[in-house]
């Protein structure tokens, strides 16, 4: 279980998060929805150690995360697929996956993980030798997810996986996210602007507005909520 308590984050003089408290239970899909600039990405970046909070606590499986550096947090079994995918565009697909397994030292386990990734994203296997920068947006997203899975996480954060991807592929990628959650039991924290899609696949949702949680409930309930429908689901 991941618990965040009263998290406050500043960027210079601007306060990005005004005290966020949320819980992500093991094995669930939890989503953060909200407009651009609401602070969703900042929450993920705080969990994975890319930004240092001013105050508040981030606790994963009982241990504090917020004093650790990003590369140490990966060791704790959390992986972050960042906004804009951030694949290593200068490396091949193969090398990107190798980098994902940077902290893995058992060849058998690495091979098993690769096979699993190829089973959900067969496209990656076909493109192993290709330079990642030449992949399409959707393929890069698959690679970014694959790379994160190579670190064998128990907790996976996904930031806007639908951004800049052909609608047909978005559907595939979201199906795979559910599959990863169901088959591997990996907890998922999903940030998404496409609230419809996010609430459809998730168990629980938080609605963020200008650095505050304004609403949270079961995703089913949020989808029916008048306020959410008006603001985020297009009526």
């Amino acid at each position: 279980m991941l618990e965040i308590k009263d998290l406050i984050v500043n960027y210079g003089v601007i306060t990005a998060l005004h005290g966020i408290t949320l819980t992500v239970p093991d094995g669930k899909i939890v989503t953060l929805i909200g407009a651009n600039g609401a602070g969703k990405t900042t929450i993920l970046r705080s969990i994975s150690g890319l930004v240092k909070p001013v105050s508040g606590e981030i606790v994963y499986q009982g241990a504090l995360l917020d004093r650790l550096r990003a590369h140490e947090i990966v060791k704790r079994g959390l992986a972050h697929v960042p906004e804009g995918r951030m694949v290593f565009a200068n490396l091949t697909v193969e090398e990107n996956l190798q980098m994902g397994a940077y902290l893995q030292f058992q060849p058998a386990a690495i091979e098993k993980e690769r096979e699993y990734i190829f089973s959900i994203f067969p496209r990656l296997k076909e493109r192993l030798a290709q330079i990642a920068g030449t992949l399409s947006g959707g393929e890069q997203q698959m690679l970014a997810i694959g790379r994160a899975l190579m670190s064998r996480p128990r907790f996976l954060m996904l930031d806007e996986p639908s951004l800049g991807i052909a609608p047909l592929l978005v559907k595939t990628i979201f199906e795979k996210i559910v599959e990863i959650n169901r088959e591997r039991g990996i907890t998922i924290l999903l940030v998404e602007q496409n609230a419809n899609l996010a609430l459809e696949i998730s168990d629980y949702g938080y609605v963020i507005e200008t650095g505050r949680i304004i609403l949270h409930d079961d995703s089913k309930v949020l989808r029916q909520s008048e306020a959410v429908r008006k603001a985020y689901l297009g009526g």
């Binding site: 590369h71 990966v74 960042p82 951030m86 290593f88 200068n90 090398e95 190798q98 980098m99």
Partner: protein, 314 residues
Amino acid sequence: MSEFLQQIINGLSLGSIYALIALGYTMVYGVLRFINFAHSDVFMAGAFAGYYMSRGFEFTLPGMHKKALFIFKGLPQESFLAGSFVLLGSMAICAFLGILIERFAYRPLRNSSKLNVLITAIGVSLLLENLAQALFGATPKAFPPLLPSKSIHLGPLLVSTNQIGVLLITFVLMMALQYIVRRTKMGTAMRAVSFNPTAASLVGVNNDVIISFTFGLGSALAAAGGILYALNYQSIDPLMGVLPGLKAFVAAVLGGIGNIPGAALGGLVLGLVETFVNGSRFSSYTDAIAFAILILILLFRPEGLLGKSQVEKV
């Protein structure tokens, strides 16, 4: 025709040395996006480390008359074994020096502006130069010939064993570097950090380790360059790094800063051009050539020969 070939060999052996130094500039730029101006003094330190090692560490500090250390007393000075010992030893010492410089001078400034780091690099360079003058004295020292020096006739060409040594050692080092950067986990991580340090830390890469590794690797190559340079010119002094260092920097920019094959190519091209100018009636302008090339490349192809032009991210 034979004179032309002769000049090519001379140019390649000079260019190899530039290339070895340029690789360090370009690799450090790749991971940290700044020019390590102290790199040319690591090159000098490499030559001095080689000098003292080849004399069996007959090293006396000012005011001290005892010889500090003797290691391989019995080893004949001009042997392949002693030569490789001196080369590898000096590379190891300089790798350590490079890692220390990064750790204590640059790392504390990791999150400050690039200008601060640049000024610090110049400060470290001055520190090393003056420290070397204080420790080793400012007068040039005669560098011992580590290789048995002979001249070999290859048809009409006259090639010295030194030149063959320089070309051979450079070739081996570049192949080793290529292997490390392309085929090993550390090398892949280096390229990943160079492309996107944030994404690298998200897969568990400790950027500090990779940056130290890069400084160590670049400094070891500079040390090899320093020894090869000293073998060619047979004289070393604490300011010997200044001019070759600047020229190697030009070579790195010429090849495309941050691009590893580019630095090697830039070094060889610069060495060839300089050698040909030196053999022409414009020989007094030899040193100006490098800087003329720098100005031209910055004006017309700032991304360098092999570099890709990049849009600055805001």
